[in-house]
């Protein structure tokens, strides 16, 4: 049975190395050796001159950091107040709000940015309805940070409300018993104990805004500032391409995300002892009383800005006969949906392709992630140490960097087989990009499952594999399924790796929509988004309903 564990360890390690390790290695080599892609190791470090010769890369790095900090701040403003209220008080319709604030995850960021553009720019929907526009606000640094905040603030909302529920319920009651007044309990006990969870969620926001492509791609060219991700994309998608510059930018990007992740991990594991008490807490939330109405007003306002306006702009655009016709009933026309529903249409194929890619990615990442997490938490000896280090790797790799690495690996003269030009390359890219979610979810869950359960099974005569199959796996299932749903949602609309890697003849939802905005019809792009968002939320809702009938909610993981 030790053998079984070491086989599992080597398989998982091999998977991580091929999926993520090789691409990173090739990026580092390309950054150091400019001729590497052509099979030569000449002129080592020559491309480092890009850093000193031209400050574009450094400007992009500065912009990236500035944007990430602003988005963190924005997420605090949008997510913290409602998160605190949701965690400590009986907010009317609490469960409904939880579902509402999941919706931003389902709207592709690129589409959300275009929707905001069509709403706020001069003569946009806001102007057509209210007679004024906010173009100057939108096409600015603040505007880009605003749109990115709206994609990410739910992370803070959910993290804060969960942490406060836990801490506020148990520890604050203890403080109250000892005579603390409510505000005292909040500021002396609840808030300090929740800070690690809040900080950890902010660092995830930070990392995700650093690697975000869709929003800057849609808005940055109008705003006149580039970030690292769009810079790397331009270096690879405009002719002549600059592999070394892209590799160098990727290295900088990786360093930033890795730093954020390590800090996040340090904070998150420091607090883990709190969550392991495992005793069911009888949540005793405070009544809002007359404050109910202003609180509801605040929730409604955030939902309006974060969910309703972008969704409405997407929906409305998809049924406009002409864009110049503007908002009026005479201009209502569903003809832009026709090319999507035509039998055998490319849009239909793109939906199918994204569907099965997302499905396979969800399963593959859940399997690999589950094994990796098991070894990290329960493993023994050297295998555990190696896996602990390797499991950090996928977290540090932004999607665009992985795509660059995959091009370098699978196109290189050193590789015996080439996946480049096949759908397989998209699959391995998606798996590499989305692995962090199942690993993170499964590790967190496993840390909560007491080791005494394994021991009990072993005492009863089960071997390690039987204990894994009959005890650990069923207990891990809810969080793995939650991770799979998240992976499915993100993979079904993945954009940047798909643009760079999709072979000829293969379209995904992301590339189809992107192409519509670059060289097609805006309305058809929006129509496709409406359909994709509807299908994805339908699937997620169905799975969640099924799960809640089984007695557990996927999003409580």
């Amino acid at each position: 049975m030790l053998r079984a564990q070491s086989v599992l360890t080597s398989l998982a390690a091999a998977a991580l190395l091929v999926l993520v390790g090789l691409p990173v290695l090739f990026i580092l080599l390309q950054a150091v050796f400019p001729q590497f892609a052509r099979g030569s190791f000449d002129n080592a470090f020559a491309s480092l001159a890009i850093l000193t010769d031209n400050d574009r890369l450094l400007t992009q790095a500065r912009n990236t950091l500035g944007l990430a900090f602003s988005v963190m701040l924005g997420c605090l403003i949008f997510g913290l107040p409602i998160g605190v209220l949701r965690g400590l008080f009986k907010v009317p319709g609490a469960r409904v709000w939880d579902v509402v604030f999941l919706i931003p995850f389902l709207i592709p960021p690129f589409i959300a940015a275009i929707a905001w553009m069509m709403t706020l720019q001069p003569r946009g929907y806001l102007f057509q309805l209210a007679g004024f526009d906010l173009g100057h606000f939108l096409f600015s640094f603040t505007g880009v940070a605003f749109v990115m905040t709206l994609n990410l603030f739910p992370l803070v909302y959910f993290a804060v409300s969960r942490a406060l529920e836990m801490v506020g319920g148990r520890f604050a009651s203890a403080a109250r018993v000892h005579g603390a007044r409510p505000l005292q309990a909040f500021f002396l006990i609840t808030l300090p104990l929740s800070i690690p969870a809040i900080a950890a969620s902010l660092l995830i926001v930070f990392a995700m805004s650093i690697e975000e492509f869709g929003t800057p791609a849609a808005l940055a060219s109008r705003t006149g500032f580039e970030v690292l991700v769009t810079g790397i994309y331009t270096r690879l998608s405009d002719w002549p391409i600059d592999l070394s510059g892209a590799a160098l930018g990727s290295v900088i990007l990786m360093a930033m995300v890795l730093a954020a992740y390590i800090l996040q991990n340090w904070i998150a594991t420091r607090r883990s002892y709190i969550s392991q008490t495992g005793k069911p807490s009888d949540l005793d939330k405070a009544d809002l009383g007359p404050w109910r109405w202003p609180v509801l007003g605040l929730f409604t306002l955030v939902a309006l800005i974060g969910v309703v306006i972008p969704l409405a702009a997407i929906g409305v655009t998809s049924v406009m006969g002409t864009i110049s016709g503007g908002l009026n009933w005479a201009n209502f026309d569903t003809r832009h949906y026709e090319p999507i529903f035509r039998a055998g249409s490319n849009a239909g194929k793109a939906l199918l392709t994204s569907g099965w890619l997302a499905f396979m990615t969800a399963f593959a990442t859940a399997i690999i992630g589950g094994v990796v997490a098991y070894i990290v938490v329960r493993g023994t000896g050297r295998g555990r140490v190696v896996m602990d280090g390797l499991s950090v790797l996928p977290n540090a790799i932004p999607a665009i960097v992985l795509a660059v690495g995959i091009i370098l690996v699978w196109n290189s003269p050193y590789m015996p087989v080439s996946l480049y030009g096949t759908a397989g390359i998209l699959l391995i890219a998606y798996i590499g990009i989305l692995l962090p979610y199942p690993i993170r979810y499964a590790v967190a869950r496993l840390r909560q499952i007491s080791g005494s359960l394994d021991d009990a099974a072993r005492v009863a005569g089960a071997d390690q594999m039987q204990a894994l199959r009959h005890i650990i796996l069923p207990l891990m299932a809810p969080s793995l399924i939650a991770a799979m749903m998240l992976v499915f949602a993100i993979a079904s609309r993945e954009l940047v790796a798909s643009i760079m890697l999709a072979p000829a003849g293969l379209r995904t939802v992301g590339t189809f929509v992107f192409a519509q905005f670059e060289q097609g019809s805006v309305q058809t792009g929006m129509a496709m988004s409406v359909i994709a968002i509807t299908i994805t939320s339908g699937i997620l809702l169905a799975v969640n309903l099924w799960l809640s009938r089984q007695g557990s909610s996927a999003f409580s993981g």
Binding site: P122, G224, L236, T322, N411, S418, G424, P503, G505, A515
Partner: protein, 319 residues
Amino acid sequence: MIRTTVFAASLGLAGTLAHADTLTFYTAGPGGLADALAEAFQAETGITVNVFQGTTGQVMARLEAEESNPQADVVVSASWGSAVDMHERGLLMEYMSPNAQAVPDDLKHSHYTAQGISALALVWNTQSDAPRPSEWSDLTDEAYRDLVTMPDPAQSGTAFDLVAGLEAAMGEEAWELLAALADNDMIVPGPNAAALNPVLQGAKAVVFGAVDYISYGQAASGETIEVIVPESGTVIAPRPMIILGSTIQPEAAQQFVDFVLSDAGQELVAATWMMPARADIEGLRPGIDDLAVIEVDEDAVSARRDEIIARFNDTVINR
């Protein structure tokens, strides 16, 4: 085990895609045209065509990234110079289609032939408050402050041809014109559609150097825009169609080129509001003879591509 499953899955997919009777076609320009050509060609010959459609910049970048492992058989770019450049680097297969007889001489070469032709124009939103422009230089006027967009020459092959053409016709004055436009807050938001979309909604009033066929099509579908070709002259952008020398199925590739230049293929080209390459096929819009065309020495221009892009970036984008 996990790895082998993933591997086997991807190899299985590789098998279905790299079938012997499939052609790989990389093309700039309207996705609808590429798909229509592929569909009609498959109906006629049974050969499947896998399409990658992007901007000229994306197409050329992909070809370059795949240099050691070429994927494409037939390529259409929106910039004549890119074909000249690839021919000089010895990447192209020689082929003159029998169907190319009616293509004017300056639009065909032993290694590349035009698929269709577009012209560069001003596109004006007729509902905008800005007056109707008639010349390139009109847009430097105060009346157009913050109301002009232009496609990015680094991404759009046609916009590059316009900059090169204006330079050929006007010399240094072309750069002064571009600098004045930049001073007038012209924006360069991306490829053609990205430049046109703000004009459709009315956020901006005019596109400087839009590829004309997209706008003719949008106007025909009811958008309130007008395509205006300056009388001082404009640049035409023939779209070169080439067969890569690395193709492993030259016969199928030649068949495809023949098909694009056949009556049926050229009708599909005309339906996108482009000018067909063959002079004997009627277009839906004004043809070459109706335009004042600025002659551009493509050989000289393509050699200076990096320089022109860099100067454009300094003059307009990173001003």
